[in-house]
Symmetry: C2
Subunit: 335 residues, 2 copies
Amino acid sequence: MMKKIRIIDATLRDGMHAVSHQLTPEQMAQIATGLDAAGVGTIEVGHGDGLGGSSMQYGFARASDKAYLAAVASAIKNTRLDVLLIPGIGTIEHLEEAMEYGVRTVRVATHVTEADVGEQHIGFAKKHGLEAVGFLMMAHMAPPGKVAEQAKLFESYGADMIYVTDSAGAMVPADVAARIRAVREAVKLPIGFHGHNNLGLAIGNTLAAIEAGAESVDACLRGLGAGAGNAQLEVLVAVLNKMGVETGIDLYKAMDIGEVLDGIMHRPQIISNEALAIGYAGAYGSFMLHARRAAEKFGVDARDILIEMGRRKTVGGQEDLILDVAIDLAKAKQA
Amino acid sequence: MMKKIRIIDATLRDGMHAVSHQLTPEQMAQIATGLDAAGVGTIEVGHGDGLGGSSMQYGFARASDKAYLAAVASAIKNTRLDVLLIPGIGTIEHLEEAMEYGVRTVRVATHVTEADVGEQHIGFAKKHGLEAVGFLMMAHMAPPGKVAEQAKLFESYGADMIYVTDSAGAMVPADVAARIRAVREAVKLPIGFHGHNNLGLAIGNTLAAIEAGAESVDACLRGLGAGAGNAQLEVLVAVLNKMGVETGIDLYKAMDIGEVLDGIMHRPQIISNEALAIGYAGAYGSFMLHARRAAEKFGVDARDILIEMGRRKTVGGQEDLILDVAIDLAKAKQA
């Protein structure tokens, strides 16, 4: 077990999903001030879907990337500013703009089998002296060997770190450990893990990742995040303190800044039936609404649609398949 | 890893803590009907502190033990009815009354080092043909060898099963595994685990317990329960389904009956700062209110009081020590 772990706080990025991207720059600055004072080393900021995410398709954020970055940059003293870039949503131009606000880390996020679409973004970041992280999303969809192969690609592009990301919260501890170990054997870089709580395992999986060799893990205050949310920052710090693992984060200060969020949230982060269905099916969160509509139309269960979509290893953008699946299920029901 | 696991649902007992023991008998009957239809084999019913718990000291329940048991007994068809008995709160007379409603299992709950106070209760239950479980609470407070010794005591009294109970949600997976393994080596009985989510590990610890040989685990719909609540029933069923472990419980039906609870709860179960502090300190939940008052009076942090109470291995009833601890901390602060 590692004795020192880096925690990247994603409250002000992934946590934005939990508030429909509606935090104000002032609220972000307040929370960033608290995270900085608590000793959080790196914080990720922006729309839930990263740079350029504010749009009709992904939901408009309350403010622009620039407004958020400016507010947070002026609030922090020691914390490293990080952005997420999903090629196809964000561009190199977005990253160039973000760099003007002192961004020092960029996580280039691709589907677990598509690291190649991040090559030029990693290259650009390294050329400009940023820390560049290869962030493999929906990692449950590929077997460990495939995840390791994609990690090697990111390493060859110059990435400084590889993240294994359980976007749908669909993995159990053994799944996480197997992928972290495979990546560890394949690359020389430090490895990170980003978990979601759809199966109630955000903390449990994070511990499994650390035990398997991860040196960096993600967390969000109050467990905010897409779906059932991420590992709860203050809870993770408490657990690692108990286990004698150093994080550099002051537990009480992290707890206290969580109370600021309590005042902002309309409803706390929970494992809803919908989030559970996503984690169980291992399907894209964005499929939920479409699945519910199709289920109603064809008299089938939305959960069965999601499970079938997961089984077919469909990815974001394949929403049109949902109707096909619903029709197939309805036919099977009649037969 | 076991291929078949018994799940005891405690929504209508431990979950009562989350609603200040205010479920009505009608609500209990409705939820019990749903749990029965979902295939839940055993459900525990009553005040959060078990038989006789409804009192000034532990909080008055909305109805009497008898009213709850009568309502649930007439609602279930296949499910086994279970009650919790904490000697000192409940008595053999209470159990005798409960048996009139068809109770078939009793869990005799004692502090982890005090199995001996349950001897006569186990004996009475066995004499009357009940399933009798020795339920060792606050198991984090004793090392594995001590827990095993107490389990052997319960075995010698005639218990059918031993439960290792993480009442304060204070254990990490390695702590749980060590205790389950120690008990497994000491007794011939099946072993159970009851977890709390104060450190975000209700599901993670439950998996660790199963991996270490537990054959029975507890869960509650929507994760209800004292402190940060228990393992969330529908989430646990989903996880075990994914892992190929049989529970006999229909996932969709469990999810659906959770929605009944959503309509009843004023606020969902979360890991609050208070619940986290309890888990981190490994202290009694009932200490929280006293610690907060003492903290205010002496200008110290309530969390430090709880941690010191945990370090001193204090138990329920030792609330008077909280003032001493607060004074000591205040002195240390001035020095």
